[in-house]
C-alpha cells in the first residue's frame, strides 16, 4: 500500500479542478503545475501548491515530463495524476514517475505503451476474442490502395499513436490518397511525435459506444456500464450520455463482456475506457482502449453515484476496489455536453477572448475550466466546460440540460451553446437516433437555429433597451418618445454582438410600441415598451423580457426560458490600413506550418496555399479564385494573429 498524501496534477483547466475537488474531499494535498497562461485561471486559485512551469510552448510545459516529475519531487508529492490529454497516455512519462519513486495514478507504463499503439492494441484485443475491424498499418499510398482494393472503400486513416480523432481522415476512394496520407502523417508526427498511421474499414453511420472499466491490483476488473458518445464534430465528442439510447440489451451485454475481457487480458489496474463502434446492424467492433480517465466520466458518475477520481486514488494506492463500485447499478439517465469556445456555423472555428460572464443554473453539474473574467487563448483545447444533467428519464435529462444552457450567462467568447441546445431539443435526438453522422445529417445551421430563432424577442428587447438608454442620457426631454420621427422613412438600426454573432436589429418606433426585425428574421411587434420590461407578440405568443444593464454598452435580456447577453457593436469600424486586394487573412491566431506556394505561382480556385495550425487543428487556406500569387508575407513557423495577411493572390482578368 502506497498511501497518497500529496498529489501532483500534471494538467490544467477543468480536469485539474475536477481532480483537486476529490483530493480536497479526501484530504489529499494538491500540487498543480502551472504556466504563465494559466496563472490566475480558476484551477490555479484552487490548488494548495503551485509548481511553476516556465516556457511558452506546451512542449516546454505540460508535455515536459522531466520538469513535471522534478516539480512533483520538489513539492513533496507522492503521486502524479496526469488527468487526460497531455502526458496521460505517455508510457515514458508514467515510467519516469514510477522510476522517481512516485505513484502514477493510472495503469502501468507497459499497458499504456501496449494500448498506445492502436495497431498493437487491435492485435492484442483480437487475440483476447474482442471483435475488431479489418485494417493495416500503411506508410505509402500504394499500401492504402491495396487495402482499399481488398476490403473495399471507404477506409479510415488514423494515427496509430493518436486519440481524439486528430489526424483521422476518411478515404472515399483512390483519389487524393497521397495528399491525405501526407497530411495525416504530418499531423500525427506533430501532435504525437509518431508519424505511424493505419487504415481500417470505415463503418458508415455507426454509434460510438464505450465502456468504463476499472481494475485493481488484486486482480478485480469491473465495468461501470456504457456511455454513448456518437454526437461528434471533427471526430471530437460533443455530447455523451449513459445509458446508450439506441442499443439493445443484447448488444449492451456483448459490449460490457468484451470490455471486461479486454481489461482482464491487460490485467488492467486503474480507470480505463474501451471504445467500440456499433454498426447500424448492431455488430460491434473494438476501436481502442483509453488508459486514463475520460472527459465524459461524469455521466458514469451521475448514473452510478460513484466518484471515479476517488476510485482512481484507491486503486493507485494499492487498495482493492470498494464494494460500492463492484455492486454499482445504474440509475436514471445522464447527459453531458461539452461547451466549446468555437463557432459551429463557420467550421467550428475556435474562438478566443475574455469571458465576460460565465454562470450556469444550479440544476446541472458544471465541470469548468473557466470563470467570469477568464481569458480564453488559442494555445489549448477550446473546451470551456462540461455541463452534466441527470434525471430519471432521458427526456427529462435532455430538457433539464437544455433549460440550463438556455438560461446560462455566457458572454464575451462565442461558444457552441446554441448547437448544444439544438441537439438536445432535436426530435431525432430525443428519439435516440444518434450516430456519428448526426450533426452532418441534421445540419448544424438548422440545429443552431432552434435556439437562435427563439431568442429573437430577447435580442429585440435588448436593442430597445439600447435605444432607451441612449434616449435617457440624451439632452432631449423625456416627453419626446424614443426614436421619434415626424416623418417616418426607415427603421432605426443597432448592431448587437450575441455570442460572437453580429446581429442587426431594425426598429420602427410607434409610441409605446415598436416593430422589430432581428437579423433576417420576420418582424414582430413589441406591444409594450417600458423602462426595462418589454412584451413582444410573436405569432400568437406574448413573450415578456426583462433587460438589465451590465455595463457600458452591455445588456442582459431574460425571459422565462432564456438568457441572452449582448454587447452593442460600434456603428463605425475604425478606419484601418487597407489590405491589398486579394489578401487572404488569417481566420484565427495560429502558427504557419506549411506554405504550398511561392510568389509568381499561378493557382486555381481552391488550391491549397498554406496551412495554419491553431488549437491543435490544421486549417488549410485555399485560393478563393484563380490567379497569381503576388506576395507571401509569412514564413513557416510564423505566429500570426487573426486578420494578418497570409498570401496575396491577384485574380486573373478574363
Amino acid at each position: 500500500m502506497a498511501e497518497i498524501r500529496t498529489v501532483c496534477i500534471a494538467n490544467r483547466g477543468e480536469i485539474a479542478r475536477r481532480i483537486m475537488a476529490t483530493a480536497r474531499r479526501l484530504g489529499i494535498t494538491t500540487v498543480l503545475v502551472v504556466t504563465d497562461d494559466d496563472l490566475g485561471m480558476p484551477a490555479s486559485l484552487e490548488a494548495d501548491v503551485l509548481a511553476y512551469l516556465p516556457g511558452s510552448t506546451i512542449a516546454e510545459t505540460y508535455l515536459n515530463g522531466p520538469a513535471i516529475v522534478a516539480a512533483a519531487l520538489a513539492h513533496g508529492a507522492d503521486a502524479v495524476h496526469p488527468g487526460y490529454g497531455f502526458l496521460s497516455e505517455n508510457a515514458a512519462f508514467a515510467q519516469a514517475v514510477v522510476d522517481a519513486g512516485l505513484t502514477f495514478v493510472g495503469p502501468s507504463p507497459e499497458v499504456i505503451a501496449e494500448m498506445g499503439s492502436k495497431v498493437g492494441a487491435k492485435e492484442k484485443m483480437a487475440a483476447a476474442g474482442v471483435p475488431v475491424l479489418a485494417g493495416a498499418t500503411v506508410s505509402t499510398a500504394s499500401e492504402i490502395l491495396k487495402v482499399g482494393a481488398a476490403s473495399g472503400w471507404p477506409l479510415l486513416l488514423k494515427a496509430s499513436a493518436g486519440g481524439g480523432g486528430r489526424g483521422m481522415r476518411i478515404l472515399r476512394g483512390p483519389d487524393g490518397v497521397e495528399q491525405e496520407l501526407d497530411a495525416a502523417r504530418r499531423e500525427a508526427g506533430a501532435a504525437f511525435g509518431d508519424a505511424t498511421v493505419f487504415v481500417e474499414s470505415y463503418i458508415e453511420r455507426p454509434r460510438h459506444v464505450e465502456v468504463q472499466i476499472f481494475g485493481d491490483a488484486h486482480g478485480t476488473v469491473i465495468d461501470l456500464f456504457e456511455r454513448e458518445c456518437s454526437i461528434q464534430r471533427r471526430y471530437q465528442k460533443v455530447l455523451e450520455e449513459s445509458p446508450s439510447p439506441g442499443i439493445t440489451d443484447d448488444v449492451r451485454v456483448q459490449l460490457r463482456a468484451a470490455a471486461r475481457a479486454a481489461g482482464a487480458a491487460l490485467h488492467y489496474v486503474g480507470a480505463g475506457t474501451v471504445e467500440f463502434i456499433v454498426a447500424p446492424n448492431g455488430s460491434i467492433a473494438f476501436l481502442e482502449v483509453n488508459t486514463r480517465l475520460q472527459v465524459e466520466h461524469p455521466v458514469t458518475e451521475a448514473v452510478t453515484g460513484l466518484d471515479l477520481v476517488e476510485l482512481q486514488f484507491i486503486v493507485a494506492s494499492g487498495a482493492p476496489l470498494p464494494k460500492a463500485a463492484i455492486d454499482a447499478q445504474p440509475e436514471g439517465h445522464a447527459i453531458e455536453v461539452r461547451l466549446y469556445a468555437e463557432d459551429p456555423t463557420s467550421g467550428f472555428l475556435p474562438q478566443t477572448g475574455t469571458l465576460e460572464d460565465f454562470s450556469v443554473p444550479e440544476s446541472v453539474r458544471v465541470d469548468s475550466a473557466v470563470d467570469a473574467g477568464s481569458v480564453v487563448v488559442a494555445t489549448y483545447d477550446p473546451m470551456l466546460a462540461k455541463i452534466i444533467a441527470w434525471a430519471p428519464t432521458r427526456t427529462a435529462a435532455a430538457a433539464t440540460l437544455a433549460d440550463a444552457l438556455r438560461r446560462s450567462a455566457i458572454a464575451g467568447v462565442a461558444t457552441n451553446r446554441d448547437l448544444l441546445i439544438g441537439v438536445l431539443e432535436d426530435e431525432e435526438f430525443l428519439a435516440g437516433a444518434t450516430t456519428t453522422a448526426f450533426l452532418d445529417e441534421r445540419g448544424v445551421d438548422a440545429l443552431v437555429d432552434i435556439r437562435r430563432s427563439s431568442i429573437e424577442p430577447l435580442i429585440g428587447a435588448a436593442a430597445l433597451a439600447v435605444f432607451l438608454e441612449h434616449h435617457q442620457t440624451s439632452p432631449v426631454p423625456s416627453a419626446v418618445p424614443v426614436g421619434y420621427r415626424n416623418v417616418l422613412t426607415q427603421p432605426q438600426v443597432v448592431v448587437l454582438d450575441v455570442d460572437g454573432r453580429a446581429i442587426e436589429v431594425a426598429v420602427v418606433f410607434a409610441g409605446r410600441q415598436a416593430e422589430v426585425a432581428v437579423g433576417d428574421g420576420e418582424a414582430f411587434t413589441f406591444v409594450d415598451i417600458d423602462e426595462d420590461e418589454f412584451v413582444a407578440l410573436v405569432a400568437l405568443d406574448l413573450v415578456a423580457v426583462a433587460v438589465t444593464t451590465l455595463g457600458r454598452e452591455r445588456f442582459r435580456a431574460t425571459s422565462a426560458t432564456d438568457l441572452v447577453d449582448v454587447t452593442v457593436l460600434p456603428r463605425f469600424s475604425p478606419p484601418r490600413v487597407a489590405l491589398a486586394a486579394g489578401s487572404l487573412q488569417a481566420p484565427m491566431p495560429g502558427t504557419v506550418v506549411r506554405i504550398d506556394v511561392a510568389v509568381g505561382d499561378v493557382v486555381a480556385q481552391d488550391d491549397a496555399l498554406l496551412a495554419l495550425e491553431a488549437m491543435k487543428m490544421e486549417h488549410t487556406i485555399r485560393a478563393p479564385f484563380a490567379g497569381t500569387v503576388t506576395a507571401v508575407p509569412v514564413t513557416v513557423g510564423h505566429q500570426v494573429t487573426a486578420g494578418d495577411p497570409l498570401v496575396v493572390v491577384e485574380a486573373d482578368h478574363d
Binding site: 440624451s474 426631454p477 416627453a479 421619434y484 422613412t489 478606419p575
Partner: protein, 532 residues
C-alpha cells in the same frame, strides 16, 4: 396651480366625427409626405444606391445617436409649385454625439441635389433655426449647385446661404460640412464657408467649375479628381480638413467633430421635473372641430399638452375668447395664448398685449395656439378702438424678446394671425395641424367682399350688374381661396416649419423648447407691465 379637467367624451358622436376628419387630413398628409420622401423617385434612388451611395435620409439616420428623435422641417417645401416636393433637401433637428444639431442634407436623387428656390428657403430657414437657438449645423453635401434653369429666381438670394453660414461661424456656432459627392460652384462654398470640411475619397468633388466649364473657360483639360477630389483637397489645396475613406467614415468623423465640441446649452433650462399630462394626448384628434366654424375649448388641447395638465389661467373671466395662462411643458416654463371663440374682441386684444408683456417681465417663452377668425369688425368695435387694441397686441408680440412658438390648430385669419405670432413675427418654431387654414379672411367672406365692391362699382357708374357672372366669379374666388388657405400650401411656401400629427404636439414642442434652451434669452424690459 389649477389642474385642467376634460369635458371631452371620447365616445360621443362629435368626438368620432372630429377624429374622422383629422384622420382624413392625416391620410392626405401621409400621401404628400411620401412624395417628398420618394425624392427623385424609384429610378434615381436605385441609381444612387447602385453607386454604393447612401440616400439623404440614410446619411441622417447614420449620423444620429441611437434613440435620438429627428424632427424634420418643411417636408412639404415646394408643395403646389412646379418643383419636386421637399426642395431636394432634408432638414431637421436631431441629436448627434449627445448634442442637439440642425442637419441639412441634399437629396442627390432630385436633379442631382441641385438647389431650387424652395430648397434654398428651406436651407436658410434651417440656418435661421440654428442661429436663433445656437445649435451646431451639419451639412450633408451632395449638390450640383444652383438648379440652372431657375437661376434668375435663385442666384441673388442664394448668396444669403454663404453669408449665413459664415455669420453662424462668427457667432461661434459650429458649422460642419460632410461632402459626399458633387459640391460644385455654389455648392463648393458650403464646405468653403463651414468651420469643418470632411471630404469623402472618390466621392467628394469640390470645385468652382468642373472639367467641362474649365474647358469652356480656359481650354485647360482637367479631371474631377485634380480639380476637386478629397485627396487633392486634403493634401494640396487644404480645403479638406478631414479625409474620409468612405461615406460612413465621413459620418463617423462628423460625429467625432461634434463630440469634440463639448457643446453647452446656454438657456435657463427646465425649472421642474416634467410630469406627463393627466389627460391623454392621443385624444387630441377628437378635439378640433371637423367644421372649423364650430369653436372648441383650447383648454382641452392645453390639458393634453402641459405637464400634469396644470394651468394657471390669467384673467379667466375677462376677454374670454382668448385663453391666457402659465404652465410648464417638459419642465420649461411657458405662457400660453389660445383662441377660444374665434374672434378677438377689444378685451382679448388688450388682455393678450398685457399677457405678452408680463411674459417678457418673467422671461418666459410663449406658446400661441391659433384658432382665430381675426379681430372683430363692426361699428361698435371700431368705435371702441379695435384698431388701437389690435395694434397693442401686435406691438407687444412684435417687440417681445422671449422665444415664441406657434401652432396653427384650426383657422388663422387676418390680423389675428399677426397678433398670434404668425410667420411674419418670427416665432422660433411654427407648426400646423393638417386641417388648419390660413388666409387674410375666409373664402366666403373674401368672395363676398369682392362681389359687394363690384356691385358698388357698377352702381356708381350706372353699369348693369351681371348676377350670373357674379355668382360664377364668387364660386371661382371661393375655390381659389379654399385651395390657397390649405395647410399644405402654406407649408409648401415655408410659412410654417412643417405639419404635425396633433397627437405629437407635446413631443414636438418639447423638442423645440429643448432646442430653444440652446440660447440665452431675456424679455423686453424698460416699462412696467401696462394694464391695458
Amino acid at each position: 396651480m389649477g389642474i385642467l379637467t376634460s369635458n371631452v367624451d371620447p365616445s360621443s358622436p362629435t368626438f368620432a366625427a372630429n377624429a374622422a376628419a383629422q384622420h382624413a387630413h392625416l391620410a392626405d398628409l401621409a400621401h404628400e409626405v411620401a412624395t417628398a420622401v420618394a425624392g427623385g423617385g424609384e429610378k434615381y434612388q436605385a441609381r444612387h444606391a447602385a453607386r454604393g451611395k447612401l440616400g439623404a435620409r440614410e446619411r441622417i439616420e447614420l449620423l444620429l445617436d441611437a434613440g435620438s428623435p429627428f424632427l424634420e422641417f418643411s417636408t412639404l417645401a415646394g408643395y403646389g409649385s412646379e418643383f419636386t416636393v421637399g426642395g431636394a433637401l432634408v432638414t431637421g433637428l436631431g441629436v448627434v454625439s449627445g448634442t442637439e444639431c440642425v442637419i441639412a442634407a441634399n437629396d442627390p436623387t432630385v436633379r442631382g441635389g441641385s438647389i431650387n428656390p424652395f430648397g434654398l428657403r428651406k436651407h436658410l430657414r434651417a440656418l435661421e433655426i440654428a442661429r436663433e437657438n445656437r445649435l451646431p449645423v451639419i451639412n450633408l453635401v451632395e449638390s450640383g449647385g444652383a438648379d440652372l434653369p431657375t437661376q434668375a429666381d435663385l442666384f441673388i438670394p442664394a448668396g444669403q446661404l454663404f453669408r449665413d453660414l459664415t455669420r453662424l461661424s462668427a457667432l461661434g456656432i459650429p458649422t460642419i460640412a460632410l461632402v459626399f459627392g458633387n459640391s460644385t460652384a455654389g455648392g463648393a462654398y458650403v464646405p468653403g464657408m463651414c468651420d469643418y470640411a470632411v471630404l469623402v475619397d472618390r466621392g467628394a468633388k469640390v470645385f468652382l467649375g468642373g472639367p467641362p466649364l474649365v474647358k469652356m473657360a480656359t481650354g485647360e483639360e482637367s479631371d474631377d479628381e485634380s480639380l476637386g477630389g478629397a485627396r487633392m483637397h486634403a493634401t494640396i489645396s487644404g480645403l479638406g480638413d478631414y479625409f474620409a475613406v468612405d461615406e460612413p467614415d465621413a459620418i463617423r468623423i462628423g460625429r467625432e467633430i461634434v463630440a469634440g465640441l463639448h457643446w453647452r446649452k446656454q438657456g435657463p433650462g427646465p425649472v421642474t421635473e416634467p410630469l406627463e399630462p393627466r389627460e391623454d394626448p392621443s385624444e387630441m384628434l377628437g378635439i378640433v372641430s371637423a367644421d372649423l366654424k364650430v369653436p372648441f375649448d383650447p383648454r382641452e388641447v392645453i390639458a393634453r399638452l402641459v405637464d400634469d395638465s396644470a394651468f394657471d389661467e390669467y384673467k379667466e373671466r375677462y376677454g374670454t375668447s382668448l385663453v391666457c395662462g402659465w404652465a410648464t411643458l417638459s419642465g420649461y416654463k411657458i405662457g400660453i395664448l389660445a383662441n377660444a371663440h374665434g374672434v378677438l374682441f377689444n378685451e382679448e386684444a388688450r388682455k393678450g398685449a398685457a399677457f405678452i408683456s408680463l411674459a417678457n417681465q418673467r422671461d418666459t417663452a410663449l406658446l400661441f395656439l391659433h384658432n382665430t377668425t381675426g379681430y372683430m369688425v363692426g361699428k361698435e368695435y371700431e368705435q371702441a378702438g379695435m384698431v388701437k387694441d389690435g395694434a397693442k397686441m401686435i406691438n407687444a408680440v412684435a417687440n417681445s424678446t422671449v422665444p415664441h412658438l406657434s401652432v396653427i390648430m384650426g383657422s388663422s385669419y387676418g390680423a389675428g394671425n399677426y397678433g398670434m405670432c404668425g410667420r411674419a413675427f418670427s416665432p422660433r418654431f411654427a407648426f400646423s395641424w393638417p386641417g388648419s387654414k390660413v388666409a387674410v379672411m375666409g373664402p366666403e367672406q373674401l368672395a363676398g367682399v369682392l362681389s359687394i365692391v363690384a356691385r358698388q362699382s357698377a352702381a356708381s357708374t350706372g353699369a348693369p350688374f351681371d348676377e350670373d357672372a357674379d355668382a360664377r366669379q364668387r364660386a371661382a374666388i371661393e375655390a381659389q381661396i379654399e385651395r390657397e388657405q390649405h395647410a399644405f400650401v402654406m407649408s409648401g411656401k415655408l410659412y410654417d416649419d412643417g405639419i404635425i400629427d396633433p397627437r405629437d404636439t407635446r413631443a414636438v414642442l418639447s423638442l423645440c423648447l429643448s432646442a430653444i434652451d440652446g440660447a440665452p434669452y431675456e424679455g423686453r424690459r424698460g416699462f412696467g407691465v401696462f394694464r391695458f
